[in-house]
């Protein structure tokens, strides 16, 4: 019943919310907080009092320089966001096309399979930075008629070419994970090969691979920093400029923190989707999701 489905979803939300603290009773939370303060406090104390800390602090954790560089870096981050979004949307579509090409059966489709396989093998084998250099530094200089001449566009193209190869393999795993009997059932109803793929195989395949797809999102998000080497002023180039001017590494730390803040929510979404998927698969068989335990604070096993 839909009512039951809602219950499981609510339970799931409750469990998700409880990942850190829920299973612990209130005095458990107090103990956990206290011991965390003690442990982290001790580590901090040791580090801060270690010989040479002052030099480390001056070179890596200069608060004044950090605050000064933050708005400049955030501004430059906008370029990364554009790179990421443009590339990701294109990758999702292009990689799906590659995966479908690679999954076409029969001798007629051999050339398509060959194309897809060669493409994937090629771009997985060579370093991404190399592709970015060749395209973003090489192509604009040619001034080819009818093609864009700016580094930004070619950097996006390079990211798309490289990451599509990985994402295509993720999709392919999903397509192969859908049992052949599903396609047989679709075809037996009179659906064409394309309709079977569109309505039956791909929806199931994509659902299965959402967590690994998001992992590749994270990888791509970080790889946008590689574009700094071909003259696109994005967050990492800006970091290098500021750090170089100040003879100080603090901007790198700030830059790292910005990536951390961007990536961690995405990683949590991946975790959540994996957990939801698992509980949905079990929901049919057991009528409830899997027992979830607090991970960091170790909820007591039932």
């Amino acid at each position: 019943m839909t009512g039951e489905a809602h219950t499981t979803r609510d339970e799931l939300h409750a469990r998700r919310g409880s990942r850190l603290f829920g299973r612990l009773r209130s005095n458990g939370v107090m103990i956990a907080t206290l011991s965390t303060l003690v442990v982290f406090g001790a580590i901090g104390f040791v580090v801060v009092n270690a010989p040479g800390w002052e030099r480390v602090q001056a070179a890596f954790f200069d608060p004044e320089l950090g605050m000064r560089s933050l708005p400049l870096l955030l501004q430059a981050l906008w370029v990364n966001v554009q790179l990421f979004v443009l590339a990701e949307v294109t990758i999702l579509a292009f990689a799906l096309l590659l995966a479908v090409m690679r999954s076409l059966p029969g001798p007629v489709f051999f050339p398509f399979r060959l194309m897809a396989i060669s493409y994937i093998e090629f771009f997985r084998a060579i370093p991404g930075i190399l592709v970015i250099f060749v395209l973003a530094l090489g192509v604009p200089g040619l001034r080819l008629p009818g093609l864009p001449n700016d580094q930004f566009t070619w950097a996006v193209v390079a990211l798309v070419l490289v990451w599509s190869a990985y994402v295509a393999e993720v999709y392919r795993a999903g397509i192969e994970g859908v049992h052949a009997s599903q396609e047989a059932a679709a075809r037996s109803l009179g659906l064409s090969r394309f309709q079977g793929l569109r309505y039956v195989v791909l929806p199931q395949a994509v659902r299965r691979v959402i967590p690994p797809l998001l992992n590749d999102f994270i990888g791509l998000q970080k790889d946008t920093a590689l574009v700094s080497f071909v003259g696109v002023v994005e967050i990492f180039s800006r970091t290098r400029i500021i750090a170089g001017g100040a003879f100080n590494f603090t901007p790198y730390i700030v830059c790292a923190l910005i990536f951390l803040v961007l990536t961690i929510p995405l990683a949590r979404v991946v975790d959540y989707l994996v957990a939801r998927d698992r509980s949905r698969q079990l929901a049919g068989a057991l009528g409830s999701g899997p027992a979830r335990r607090g991970r960091l604070l170790g909820g007591s096993p039932r």
Partner: protein, 251 residues
Amino acid sequence: MSRTSEALVVEGLRKSFGQLEVLRGIDLTVAEHEVVALIGASGSGKSTLLRCINLLEEIDAGRIVIEGQEITAPGIDVDRVRRRIGIVFQSFNLFPHMTVLRNVTLAPRKVLRLPQAEAEGRATALLERFGLADKRDEYPDRLSGGQQQRAAIVRAMAMQPDILLLDEITAALDPELVAEVLDVIRELAAEGMTLVLATHEMGFARDVADRICFLDGGVILEQGPPSEMLVAPREERTQQFLKRIIDAGRL
């Protein structure tokens, strides 16, 4: 399309998987409104025969004619042929990411291009008839095996096929769920649906089938009405098979 009283004609059908020849010349004629049960040991080719009739397997030799049209002729539109032949599988093969209603309406909407309201109206009527009206909006995972199999039958029937193939549709069910599925088939048979079913349920075959075909070694070794086939078969292999079935308490 010429109308004949023969719903299905299979002639000299051969099918190999690699070195293994599973079907070695099947000849079978099924009249309209006839119910034919295929029996035989596992591996005798019952399922392969059904999958060949539905063109899910490419055949090596022979021909298959449905309602006067040769469907194994070169250049035939297999998608068009399959609209007229329903098949229900042992493992249900419902689409797990769709509700029962969407499972049933997918092909009528996408293949027959029925408007959504009409497809849903048809589907709802069929679901009601087979006692699944309240499961319309459920996902298959939340249904019992018997309900899933009935939903799969409804899905096949929603295309209004000329002939329905049933591939051991009760083999994956718990014993107490078998009856509800067989009742559905009985109703379809009583209504005059042309059925070809592969089954291990000899009691059911006896009750519902007009004719029983015994497959052995990739050919139809013997066929006849249930009263003969299950009581006094002529062939020694058929007798041995029946004896095993009776010894196992399945007749």
